[in-house]
């Protein structure tokens, strides 16, 4: 089961879970992702050690999609 999580003040919050076979859950996860992207979050999937990829739609092969805030020079 794949999950969409957001890093936030609680550590992280799971916003949606879905499987490829469960179309309504996948649609709900897609809506949740869109909402978070509209709020300014970036969605990232890890691609093996040392690699991550920013995405704008739920990938079929990802176990976990992580939402992060933009970073900035301090």
């Amino acid at each position: 089961m794949a999950k969409l999580i957001r890093m936030d003040q609680t550590g992280h919050t799971t916003l949606a879970t879905w499987t490829a076979e469960d179309a309504p859950a996948a649609e709900a996860a897609t809506r949740a992702l869109r909402e978070q992207l509209d709020l300014g979050y970036y969605a990232v999937v890890t691609r093996g050690e040392g690699h991550a990829q920013q995405i704008t739609a739920l990938p079929a092969d990802a176990d976990t999609v992580i939402l992060r805030r933009p970073i900035a020079g301090g």
Binding site: M7, T46, Q54, I55, A72
Partner: protein, 215 residues
Amino acid sequence: MADAAVLPETAAVAWRPRVDDARLREAGRRWTGTSLFHAVGFGLTGVLLLVLSPWTFPLALIFFAHAWAIPELYANRGAKVLRPGRRTEPAPERIALGLLGDLVGHDARDLLERTGLVLERGRLGAWLVGPVGAVLVRPGARRLHCFCVLVPDPALPTGDRVAHLLLALREDEVGFATVANGAFSGAPWRLRRRLPRRARPGLDAAVTAARSGVG
């Protein structure tokens, strides 16, 4: 799925050229030049004063102190990028640390537990990532670069702050170095003695990784 090989945050610093090996070398030379300028300039002025008149000894001492202190202050500024950061409530910190632990390998997890820092090997060198910045140890480990970079949300747990930086670094290493603000560049030993004791094994691990080859 829309792939984005370029870190989107680089749009906010569009005037900056993307960092590359040559630019890092140039930045390193500038830092060394500035440090030398201060150390040699103040030091020679102190010597000159003593040559002119031994009675200027107190003033010469002030110049010698500046020659020593200014490069030290630069290194201290660099060390601040690895400061621990403000901790939030224990429960969110624990959850965030769990997520961060899932993102790193076994060795990096061990280092994370000991130092609160994550070691990440990249093309530009070995990175040591903390909650409010990162240190890049260049291949060969003769020089490092300290970067101030953070997620501007003070309510986030420390582990999440590190995870934000780690994910951004993994998305686009060069973009990450471009977005970050340079805080110091110099030899690893200059930074190490300014670091909190807990962070030193992290820097040692990054130096070892940079010496043994990265990428």
